[in-house]
């Protein structure tokens, strides 16, 4: 029998591919079904928002930050606004801080529900996707009550908020907390502990903790590797130090620490922690005016600030340089997805093509955040 001809094959995954969660292109070098190398090609959604920001006043940049990670606009606004407030040196009323934390945690729930739902979808489970989006819609309805927008809010302002919350928002939030707990139990039974799902995700794409820290991986992706690091506790900002919650890490309950399943389950568990924070915050919101500290004109002195926050995807940082004028001199966004995706080559080598889909999904990337 003649010898079989074997050679490496280059396969393009994306930019138009449902499992890349946007317009990401992965160039795979294959040896049969086995992946030898993954080369991500970024930039299909690049808008250079950092350049736009230099031509605007500080408050005008906020809607642009919304569009960075569009599934998670509140956290983006919060990070940017905290950095500007640090430059200005203003203190915001306690009522504002409470509402900001509630919004950020509601947004974390919405973002994690998308992550869980789409990850199920990636692995071929359509039903959890529909359940998750139904529940996420309930969270978005709350945002709609407060500021009228479902996804891109421009809600958190420098020094305050665009609207105060209403009694309707408070009752509906309490209802949501009650509603979501049994729903999460159901989703866990349906997907997280489903044998087929575990077979697809356990022991796939193992990311060792020291590699993760060195590569700047953060958020649930880092905690999936067993590193107990959450900026809300490790480097607290806003008023997170007032609330009682746990840092969820991957424990190897199924599979091994650092694999896809452990990265995934951290998100499912974090929803419960966010609910706990909301429960504690919603009953103790102090009275006050949410716009009392909003400056008429945002004109910080020359200087710079760097603020890191724990967004649902990971460590979101804003580095702002001011030259004392009305426009920022430089705005740099440190996006969590950008750093997280950079380890994909390292942990995908030696796996099958179908596993690359699962590894990519376990990072919970948003291309608006990567490409900025």
């Amino acid at each position: 029998m003649a010898e079989l001809r074997t050679e490496e094959m280059i396969l393009n995954m994306g930019p138009q591919h449902p499992s890349t969660h946007g317009v990401l292109r992965l160039v795979l070098t294959l040896n049969g079904e086995i992946v030898e190398e993954v080369k991500p090609v970024l930039g299909y959604l690049h808008r250079c928002f950092e350049k736009h920001a230099e031509a605007m006043t500080y408050p005008q940049v906020i809607p642009y930050t919304d569009r960075m990670d569009y599934l998670n606009a509140m956290s983006n606004e919060l990070a940017y606004v905290l950095a500007v407030e640090k430059l200005l040196g203003i203190e915001v009323p306690e009522r504002v801080e409470y509402i900001r934390v509630i919004m950020a945690e509601l947004q974390r729930i919405a973002s994690h529900l998308v992550a869980i739902g789409t990850y199920g979808n990636d692995s071929g489970a359509m039903t959890p996707f529909l359940y998750c989006f139904m529940d996420r819609e309930k969270v978005l309805e709350l945002f709609e009550i407060v500021c009228g927008a479902r996804m891109l809010y421009n809600y958190i302002w420098v020094g305050g908020l665009s609207h105060d919350i209403t009694p309707e928002f408070i009752t509906k939030t309490k209802e949501l907390v009650k509603y979501l707990r049994p729903r999460m139990k159901m989703i866990n039974n349906l997907l997280s502990y489903n044998k087929i799902f575990i077979e697809r995700t356990a022991k796939i794409g193992i990311l060792p903790p020291e590699v993760a820290i060195n590569a700047g991986v953060s958020g649930p992706t880092l905690r999936g590797s067993g590193v107990k690091y959450d900026l809300r506790k490790s480097d607290p900002y806003s008023i997170y130090n007032k609330f009682d919650f746990d840092i969820c890490v991957g424990t190897g309950e199924r599979g091994v620490v650092g694999d896809c399943w452990n990265r995934y389950i951290v998100r499912a568990y974090e929803i419960e922690q966010s609910l706990r924070i909301i429960e504690q915050a919603i009953d103790s919101i102090p009275e006050g005016d949410v716009q009392s500290a909003v400056p008429k004109r945002v004109k910080p002195v020359a200087g710079e600030s760097y603020v890191r926050t724990e967004s649902p995807k990971g460590e979101l940082g804003y580095y702002i340089i001011s030259d004392g004028s009305l426009n920022p001199y430089r705005v740099k966004a440190r996006s969590p997805s950008f750093c997280n995706i950079s380890v994909i080559n390292q942990i995908s080598r030696g796996h099958m093509i179908a596993d690359v889909v699962m590894i990519l999904g376990s990072f919970d990337i948003v291309l608006g955040c990567i490409d900025r």
């Binding site: 930039g43 040196g89 820290i213 700047g216 910080p300 200087g303 940082g317 430089r330 380890v343």
Partner: protein
């Protein structure tokens, strides 16, 4: 470790390679390091027992002033919990700086981004290509003197 201790230790090892410590508020204290020695400084910061800066939180390229670009390193230690800001000035006439991608893997893509948008050359980066803009794009948008080209590959740019 406090910033003063870190600074004094670095100063005693690297001498001239480390500039003056600047502590004017509201900026977090920082110092300039020599662009040609930054790889050694980075390795020291990561491996020295009392510092252990195991994580590069952010690397930003900045068009700093008329003659210089700057690279700003925001470092963080997961092990010890302290943070540090180091800056490097890179002259616009010869924008070369040593890469720290051997020390922190996170730097590789951040350096590519800084090269792409601000245009400094990181010597030693294993894969220094454009990352966000198309490969055949001309110029570096985050330079202050950047002019948006009228056409790209024959297509009109509407801004």
């Amino acid at each position: 470790m406090e910033i003063n201790e870190i600074y004094n230790k670095l100063k005693s090892v690297f001498g001239e390679g480390i500039g003056e410590l600047k502590t004017d508020l509201p900026v977090r204290p920082f110092f300039f390091a020599d662009a040609s020695k930054i790889d050694a400084v980075a390795l020291f910061l990561r491996d020295e027992e009392s510092m252990q800066f195991d994580n590069l939180s952010c690397l930003s390229g900045v068009d700093y002033d008329k003659d210089n670009l700057a690279v700003v390193y925001h470092l963080c230690s997961y092990a010890l919990g302290h943070q540090l800001v180091v800056k490097c000035l890179v002259p616009k006439s010869d924008p070369k700086i040593k890469s720290v991608s051997d020390v922190w893997a996170a730097a590789e893509w951040h350096e590519r981004e800084a090269f792409d948008l601000v245009g400094m050359i990181f010597e030693g980066n294993p894969d220094l290509r454009r990352i966000l803009l198309p490969e055949d794009w001309e110029g570096h948008p985050l330079r202050k003197d950047y002019k948006v080209p009228e056409f790209y590959n024959g297509m009109k740019i509407p801004y």
